[in-house]
Symmetry: none
Subunit: 194 residues, 4 copies
């Protein structure tokens, strides 16, 4: 469908040139239509980009959710590892979305900045909640505060991994993933006790 193709092309151009640098002409050309035709599907540039933003964010969410659901039953140690692996897999696999995401975080377009901010908060909340439930289920005696610290470490380590995806090549990145997993194991060991 033309509309979907438009959003995909928008993500690609957003990633490569940023909001102002991505032009309606280029996006149209990538899709194989004329610029004027975009306006049949979207009211204006901002509306088009907002749809792209929403797609990126919901895509990210569904990816992380899928991983979470797949490994929630197993060991906590493995869950963390797989979530970290998933961060790398998603962000390298959908590099355009990742690059677009980076420019979105400080977008001068208020609506976009707001959407990303809202998402970040929502995603974080979901992640904390789910991890809390899962871990407490498995370690019933554990204090909430301890679990919370564990989750905070996980998020911190995840952020390091995310930025690594952006700036490093495959090899270094693989090394970073291993470090992340080891650090996470350390934290688990430290907090849960032996």
């Amino acid at each position: 469908m033309t509309k979907n193709k438009l959003v995909q092309a928008t993500i690609k151009n957003f990633a490569a040139y940023g909001y102002q640098g991505a032009t309606m002409s280029r996006i149209a050309k990538d899709v194989g239509i004329k610029p004027a035709s975009i306006y049949y599907f979207f009211a204006n540039k901002e509306a088009l980009f907002q749809e792209a933003v929403h797609l990126i964010l919901s895509h990210h969410f569904s990816m992380m959710k899928k991983t979470f659901e797949q490994y929630r039953e197993g060991e906590v140690h493995q869950l963390f590892s797989e979530l970290l692996r998933s961060i790398v897999a998603y962000h390298t696999g959908y590099m355009d979305e990742t690059k677009a995401y980076i420019t979105m975080v400080n977008s001068p377009i208020p609506n976009i900045k707001k959407d990303v901010g809202d998402y970040l908060q929502e995603y974080n909340q979901w992640l904390v909640e789910q991890l809390m439930l899962t871990i407490q289920e498995k370690y019933p005696g554990l204090e909430e505060q301890a679990v919370n610290r564990l989750i905070e470490y996980f998020i911190f380590i995840g952020n390091g991994l995310f930025w690594a995806v952006v700036i490093y090549e495959a090899e270094t990145l693989q090394n970073n993933l291993e470090m992340a997993m080891e650090l996470m194991d350390q934290c688990l060991y430290q907090i849960m006790g032996e």
Copy 2:
């Protein structure tokens, strides 16, 4: 000096709007001159931005260098802590430079992308080299490979902290700094032994 003010205004606008979004008019207005006057100081937009890029990168380098020199004589543990603290201090204190840096990393302007890539490599090399010397000096018996791993962990943790500066508010950020330092201590303990 007008030229300096121009570069500063460029950094500010670069941070706020990205390369394409930052206009010569706005930069000129911020400085209090007319757009045409910019061309007395810089050949064109790219040259102006490249100077801004260089300033940002060299500023970052000199900050990290200063911290390094200040703490290289002390304990390794403290050196790492201060370097991490320095990352937070620099990136929050010079938020515009940080934001500009983020957009620079994926800049569609080849020269800018290249400069940043080169810098990243150079900075990394310097950091590794300096840390290697310093640590080996203090732990003469330690294998190079172990030191290397330690440094890699430090860089990984530093990256996590960097991204935290970008997306978190002061409070969360402080918490992240503490986690970073604790993780680093863990690594030290793990690798150096007790």
Copy 3:
């Protein structure tokens, strides 16, 4: 019928925005169809507007004719009064047509300008002819030249009233109508003698 509704919507938009300012989309939206559907009824924008123009002009003609026929049998004095009253009634009652008419008079669209010019001439001719017949019938001895002067005064006063409709509110307009009727009476008295 859709076609009629289209013409009505065209008049409304013509009045509000002028020829260039009135868009096919807006007209379609007012009617509740899509722009493409207009082309089933009209060859193009000009054809649509020409139909609107014709409707406005023939509507005006039929209104004035009706008034004329209604009062031609009575006193000349009353006929003039009612014709003047009719000018106000028509142009206030069908304000959209009046506003459209004003823009039509100097329309950059040759066909429209021509149609309006032709109509003005035709309408004038009809008016003069009818008034001539009616007045001569009632004042058989009167010289044709005198009747002609009377008619010219009537048209002049009618024009003043017309423009008053365009620029004044109801109250001022009412006052203008009374002045017009009094002036007309004066002319009658002056020319017909006591």
Copy 4:
């Protein structure tokens, strides 16, 4: 000066094509510059047209004022005649301004419509005030109400003449001017007594 030429070309195009029909390109071409250059002098199309509107209105005002000052000392009868003659002279001499004025009266651009409305009121007020003073000075015993009625008739007759300028050719118009002056004399005679 380019700016003045721009305003003149704007009036000409405004008269010929209306607000929406007049394009920045055409105006630029008339002046002998490129469209982009207009934006050095005016913020946008509306600002340019607003300047044109102001010029038209103030021009009209200064013309009527001049006539008024020239004949205020003489007979009232002559003052009215000259004012009427002045209406014809101005509106035929500056046909573009007159045509532009007609489209302005019902302009879909709020600012323009407002400016014209405000002007109409201001001009009317000035006219009534000046005529009141002048006539009362010359006919000291006359009641204010009587003078008021006289002025109202003058304005009414002036409106008829104005619209005649718009729709008639020179010959008919001359005839209309004579009628207007005769009607005005009649009113004077009627109200001031013999």
